[in-house]
Amino acid sequence: MSNIETIRGFVVENFLFGDGEQLTDDMSFLENGIIDSTGILEVISFLEETYGISIQDDELVPENLDSINNIAVFVENKLALVPDSQERHVG
């Protein structure tokens, strides 16, 4: 499963409760009310657990987290910096 599919699956299951038909990969979570002010915590835990990455405070910005595409790019960049974790956690 690609990163995009994994992230998408998580968002659809946890925030849209299975109803993912309308969700496009570049849709802003904030603008479309997909994730609320506390839901972002769930996203962070999911990314850290799934990809074994550690997200720094200054990385918690909409540019990294506000759509499936943003997250996917962010995760890929993070994983590129942590070569060991890539094989263990992806897929």
């Binding site: 299951e13 946890n14 299975g18 009310g33 002010s37 918690l60």
Partner: protein, 671 residues
């Protein structure tokens, strides 16, 4: 405090039976367990369940005028009744009781509907003018006391609670899809409706007249706000002084009763202020009552104890455990008669039980102060977002949001994301609903759980449009805070707080609440106070705090506001409630009710069971779905079996049978 109910048969039909009136009165007997009264003639039947507070001996209702052509049933208190009575006596009216009820009837004889302008109190009432064959229903300004009605064929049926109307077997019982949409957006139904199809609520500040088959509804009052040029030009010190004076009198007249009056004491500014005024001016031995929670996030014990010590109060408290909150939710929904998105009403229900057990029937509460004086975070949030909207690219301005919600922003990592969340819709600052759109949009997301059938029935209904259309003339000329206060007061206070966290959960245990902050003189005065003094910078309730200086300890006046909330996931997804929660949320129960999509609800359930932390939205969805299921089961499917033997609960009942020209006292249902 009492319950009222009645039927007006325009054509004098046979369906108007004594037995039906007894059942309608008996089903809300907890509103008035002391005695009951019924009036019946060829056109009208009136039922009254009485909680005796003023004129314990002769205040039995219905009460009539001098020649017995006008009859009143009444739920509430009019605090300025001694002054009104004196004027009526001077005009030649004679009284056979010392109750406030009789004063209202004579005042109505004198002035008609305009009598409502003179009443300072909380009430829902019905007056039957048998000569004109006119029925007059009215509700207090802000909606402290409930009143519902429905038209069915050639009858008008009304009652303090919907369940009483449903005791008329022919009345259809259905969930109204549009009302579901409203609750899952605004946290409550909008004024004028209930969760049940065709069961209307008489809006606060309105009266209804019915005669000869025609029904008309009129507004006699609205929440007062004014444009800047009509506001007062007094200094904050002068305003605070005036508020102190008005509040002291509001408390003074609310202590009028022939039984002892207690007070709720949370440790917050509002209830502490009211209780201090009582102790320091009227009754140093007042009984006080407070709620404690297991978890620190909800508990205000430290400040409550501080106030108990400061006032040397005769205090009792309940521990609202997670278990007990979960277990009592269903009972609370039976009393609230609508789906809820919060469990916060439950501890108040547990509290009123303690009050009752302590032998007290009446308590003062601090409700209303946040709306009138500008206490809620949504007001400060609006102010910050308005300020931010003037320079949307500012990096400093959004930082102010964090000061408003320290309990959400306690994780500094989330600062940027949360700021972006509150930065949504900044460009909508000229929208009349600007202050509330973030909240409503966020809440509205839980409509995703609605079933396809429910969504189809709601269709293109737009709640925002309905709210916009209902805004009063002049709204556009008010400042941002006044507009936000109007929305918060007219929607959330009147339809949710005063009902689900007010009248219903208190009356469930036969307790009357009295609310000094909602004295109309106080509301009128504060409506003319400039917003800059209400929230000074970001300091909420500045005027009220100032007026309490010297009356309350500084640490109570200056403490950060603690929003009253109760645990949700912890109460429902663990302990004793778990089994019934599973049952109510099972695929069979959900499919039966047809309101929600079972597959989606199952995903939510799995998320919570698997230890996922519930977000604010998940919690709202959980209570909303569960409570809707309870309403559907208890009021649609099981209503008849649930209310089968209610008539056994009817206390000593006085019956005025004008059909047969006899009056008598019935014992239970033996007559």
């Amino acid at each position: 405090m009492c319950g009222i109910t009645g039927i007006y048969s325009f054509n004098g039909s046979d369906t108007l039976s004594l037995d039906t009136l007894k059942r309608m009165t008996a089903v809300m007997q907890y509103r008035g367990p002391d005695e009951a009264g019924i009036y019946i003639d060829s056109f009208v039947g009136l039922g009254h369940a009485r909680l005796s507070i003023i004129d314990l001996c002769s205040g039995t209702q219905p009460i009539h005028n001098e020649d017995k052509t006008m009859w009143i049933i009444y739920n509430g208190e009019v605090y300025n009744y001694p002054e009104l009575r004196e004027k009526l006596v001077q005009k030649g009216h004679t009284f056979y009781t010392t109750s406030d009820t009789e004063v209202i009837l004579h005042l109505y004889e004198e002035k008609g509907p305009a009598c409502l302008d003179d009443l300072n109190g909380q009430f829902a009432l019905a007056i039957w003018d048998s000569k004109k064959r006119e029925l007059f229903l009215a509700r207090d300004r802000i909606g402290i006391r409930p009143l519902y009605y429905t038209r069915y064929k050639d009858t008008l049926i009304f009652a303090s609670e919907v369940k009483s109307i449903f005791m008329v077997d022919e009345i259809p019982r259905q969930i109204d899809p549009v009302a579901m949409d409203q609750i899952f957006t605004f946290w409550t139904t909008l004024p004028g409706v209930s969760i049940f199809k065709d069961i209307c609520e008489l809006p606060p500040g309105h009266y209804l007249r019915a005669a000869h088959g025609k029904v008309s509804i009129n507004k006699y009052w609205d929440i007062p706000f004014y444009p800047r040029h009509e506001q007062v030009d007094l200094s904050p010190a002068e305003i605070s002084e005036k508020i102190h004076e008005l509040l002291l009198d509001a408390v003074r007249i609310r202590l009028r009763a022939d039984v002892p009056v207690g007070a709720y004491l949370s440790g917050g500014l509002d209830s502490s202020g009211v209780t201090s005024l009582v102790v320091q001016n009227f009754n140093s031995d007042v009984r006080t009552f407070g709620i404690r929670f297991e978890e620190d996030a909800f508990d205000e014990g430290k400040y409550q104890n501080r106030m108990v010590f400061f006032l040397k109060a005769n205090h009792k408290e309940i521990m609202a455990t997670n278990d007990e909150i979960g277990e009592s939710l269903n009972n609370v929904i039976w009393h609230c008669e609508k789906p809820l998105l919060r469990t916060a009403p439950v501890p108040l229900f547990l509290l009123s039980k303690l009050v009752r057990q302590s032998g007290i029937k009446v308590v003062l509460t601090g409700e209303g102060a946040d709306e009138i004086f500008g206490g809620y975070n949504i007001f400060r949030e609006t102010k910050v977002r308005r300020f931010w909207a003037r320079q949307p690219d500012s990096t400093m301005r959004p930082g102010l949001i964090g000061q408003l919600y320290p309990y959400i922003f306690d994780n500094p990592r989330l600062k940027r994301m949360l700021e972006s969340f509150f930065g949504m819709g900044l460009d909508q600052f000229d929208d009349p609903l600007f202050s509330h759109l973030v909240r409503w949009e966020n809440t509205g997301k839980i409509k995703t759980f609605f079933s396809d059938e429910l969504k189809a029935a709601i269709g293109s209904y737009d709640g925002y449009e309905q709210v916009k259309e209902s805004l009063p003339d002049g709204y556009a000329g008010w400042d941002t805070l006044s507009r936000a206060q109007y929305l918060e007061t007219s929607l959330f206070l009147s339809n949710y707080l005063l009902s689900s966290q007010g009248d219903r959960v208190a009356m469930a245990n036969s307790i009357e609440i009295r609310l000094p902050y909602l004295d109309p003189r106080l509301m009128e005065f504060m409506g003319r106070v400039p917003s800059k003094w209400k929230i000074l910078g970001l300091n909420e309730k500045h005027i009220l705090k100032k007026s309490f200086q010297g009356i309350l300890p500084d640490d109570i006046v200056n403490r950060a506001k603690h929003p009253y909330r109760a645990p949700i996931e912890q109460s429902l997804f663990s302990g004793k409630a778990l089994e019934s929660v599973h049952d109510m949320l099972s695929e069979t129960s959900l499919s039966n009710a047809g309101l929600f999509d079972p597959a989606k609800v199952n995903r939510l359930k799995n998320k919570l069971i698997n230890g996922g932390e519930a977000s604010e939205t998940d919690n709202m969805a959980l209570v909303g779905i569960l409570s809707s299921q309870m309403v559907a089961r208890d009021y649609i499917d099981d209503f008849s079996s649930r209310t089968e033997n209610v008539i056994d609960k009817l206390p000593r009942t006085v019956i005025f049978d004008r059909k047969n020209k006899t009056d008598y006292v019935g014992v239970k249902n033996a007559d």
